[in-house]
């Protein structure tokens, strides 16, 4: 020990401090790759998300509370929120066609459930799938606030107020970490309505 000397002790101590300190910096955010654990903790309003992701030889563990203080979509008396566990709602919304896409960065599938008038996309976390997006396909459905495809831009502002992001062809309303997006055509009519998770 004496031979290793004070220098070695100082260097090793620095190393230990560097490595241990690394995981604590930032605001509860840590992302890792390759057989590695990542955890992200986000608290927005009443929404709390705690995600653990491992990339490479993947293992994931997720705890999500979705819905509170978010825009939701109701169909067949079921209200759907992004970041909610998809398994609890996909069968209750009617008949759907199914598509899945494997990821090149982690073991898991992005899934797409296409219903007659809307689509639900999911992302994997651990052994569960969570809703990443709800996308309207036609004007046969409306949001709980009464917005539909084909509606004028001004009507959307009447119903939802001033958007968080306002562009010629896009209004974004952020709430509880999620985004409700209205896409307009060149004449100012809604051509798409999307509920998007903050994770995509």
């Amino acid at each position: 020990m004496k031979k290793f000397g004070k220098i070695g002790i100082v260097l090793c101590a620095s190393l230990v401090l560097t490595l241990s300190g690394c995981g604590e910096k930032g605001e509860n955010t840590q992302v890792n790759v390759g057989n590695t654990t990542a955890s992200t903790k986000v608290e927005t309003g009443e929404t709390k998300t705690d995600v653990k992701v491992e990339v490479g030889e993947t293992k994931t563990d997720v705890k999500v509370e979705a819905g509170k203080d978010m825009y939701g979509f109701t169909h067949n008396s079921v209200t759907v929120y992004v970041d909610a566990d998809a398994s609890t709602v996909v069968d209750k919304l009617g008949e759907f066609s199914y598509f899945e896409a494997p990821s090149c960065a982690f073991n898991g599938l992005d899934k797409v459930y296409t219903y007659s008038s809307f689509e639900i996309d999911t992302y994997p976390d651990g052994d569960k799938d969570y809703i990443s997006a709800i996308i309207f396909k036609d004007d046969m459905i409306e949001t709980p606030e009464g917005a539909t495809i084909g509606m004028k831009k001004e009507k959307i502002e009447e119903k939802y107020g001033t958007p968080t992001t306002k562009e010629d062809t896009l209004y974004v309303y952020e709430k509880g970490g999620m985004r409700l997006r209205f896409i307009f055509d060149s004449e100012g009519y809604v051509s798409s309505i999307e509920y998007m998770s903050s994770k995509i």
Partner: protein, 347 residues
């Protein structure tokens, strides 16, 4: 003097320990998600390539360099990686030119959908690591890292990956020790081989976008790629691989057609060539239309081999040293095909 030696020895021991720890903790990509190993494998292939492919999974899962060699005598390599962005493709081109100047560079334009790193989504950091860590250190790598980093990433973590991966210490597996210093080859000149099939059913159409124009940053890097190829006398071919998903919008296709025309480049959209290539999306894809399996890749590669040969690339199978090198690769490829067939119960 003795004190100085002690200092040096101590520093060396600590550096050695850190080095070994870093080797142990870094992901090996030897099994499972092997795509993370592709970029580094290029440096082991020392031959001069006629063709270099750049791009995302749509290049490394749709074209087979072994077939280009066996049937056409074209020596090619795929410098592809998962969700490779256009700036990463550009810097990989810069990096490649440190070692060789190919006759042809083929770039898959799906990457144009991302204008800035955050467009790649929440997993972008993982994708960045899979592309950037495999690159050898150079100015190109430094610039690539700087262009690629998303919020929460820092350059120092790329210089000393141990800072990034230290938490893996509690999750190490036997593979981390087995592949600490040397990993086995997992690609076939950058090609990812699959023989199983899954028909392309219910492929979703693209969702409506607020803006179909590719971004300024994406175009800036495509311009740089075009300029660099022109400067080096390289024939740049833009392609859209025949993957059905993610959706390739007609508006995007038009922009690439116009770009190619304006810059006097070739642009091949394989989605429009299904009648010629005879790709059957019921049998030639292993994941319902995202990527082709070997049988699909062979069809596309045949079309490309015919096209490249007709447009002037010469057959190099008479080069003894190169042929010898390929003999070994072909053996590895054939054994991998047999292993895959056995895995999926295919005769």
């Amino acid at each position: 003097m003795k004190k100085a030696i002690k200092w040096v020895a101590t520093v060396l021991v600590v550096v050695l320990i850190l080095f070994l720890l870093q080797r142990l903790l870094m992901p090996k990509y030897a099994k499972g998600i092997v795509e993370g190993a592709f970029i580094a494998e290029y440096y082991k292939d020392e031959s001069e390539h006629d063709v270099i492919f750049l791009g995302d999974c749509e290049v490394y899962e749709n074209f087979t360099p072994v077939m280009l060699w066996e049937d056409y005598g074209i020596n090619s390599y795929i410098r592809g990686s998962s969700q490779q962005t256009v700036w990463q493709s550009y810097y990989l081109l810069e990096d490649t030119l440190r070692y060789e100047t190919p006759d042809v560079v083929i770039f898959n334009v799906l990457a144009m959908e991302f204008n800035v790193p955050k467009d790649g989504g929440v997993n972008m950091e993982a994708y960045n690591r899979m592309t950037l860590e495999g690159m050898k250190w150079s100015g190109a790598k430094v610039r690539d890292i700087k262009a690629s980093m998303v919020d929460g990433e820092s350059f120092i973590d790329y210089v000393f990956p141990i800072l990034r991966y230290h938490s893996r210490i509690t999750e190490l597996t036997a593979d981390d020790f087995a592949y600490m210093f040397k990993t086995e080859k997992v690609s076939h000149n950058g090609y990812y081989l699959r023989v199983d099939s899954k028909p392309a059913l219910n492929v979703p159409k693209g969702r409506i976008l607020a803006d179909y124009n590719f971004g300024k940053n994406a175009y800036a890097y495509l311009d740089k790629m075009t300029a660099l190829c022109k400067e080096k006398g390289i024939r740049l071919i833009l392609i859209k691989a025949p993957s059905l998903y993610p959706y390739w919008y007609p508006e995007w296709d038009k922009q690439m057609q116009e770009y190619a025309e304006k810059n006097n480049l070739e642009y091949i959209n394989f989605l429009d060539l299904t009648d010629e290539t005879k790709v059957d999306y019921n049998t030639d894809t292993y994941d319902a239309g995202l990527h082709l399996n070997l049988w699909g890749a062979q069809k596309i590669t045949k079309w490309l081999g015919d096209y490249l040969t007709a447009s002037g690339l010469s057959d190099r199978r008479n080069e003894e040293k190169l042929s010898k090198a390929w003999e070994e690769k072909i053996r590895f490829y054939e054994s991998a095909i047999e292993a895959e067939k056995e895995k999926y119960g295919i005769e």
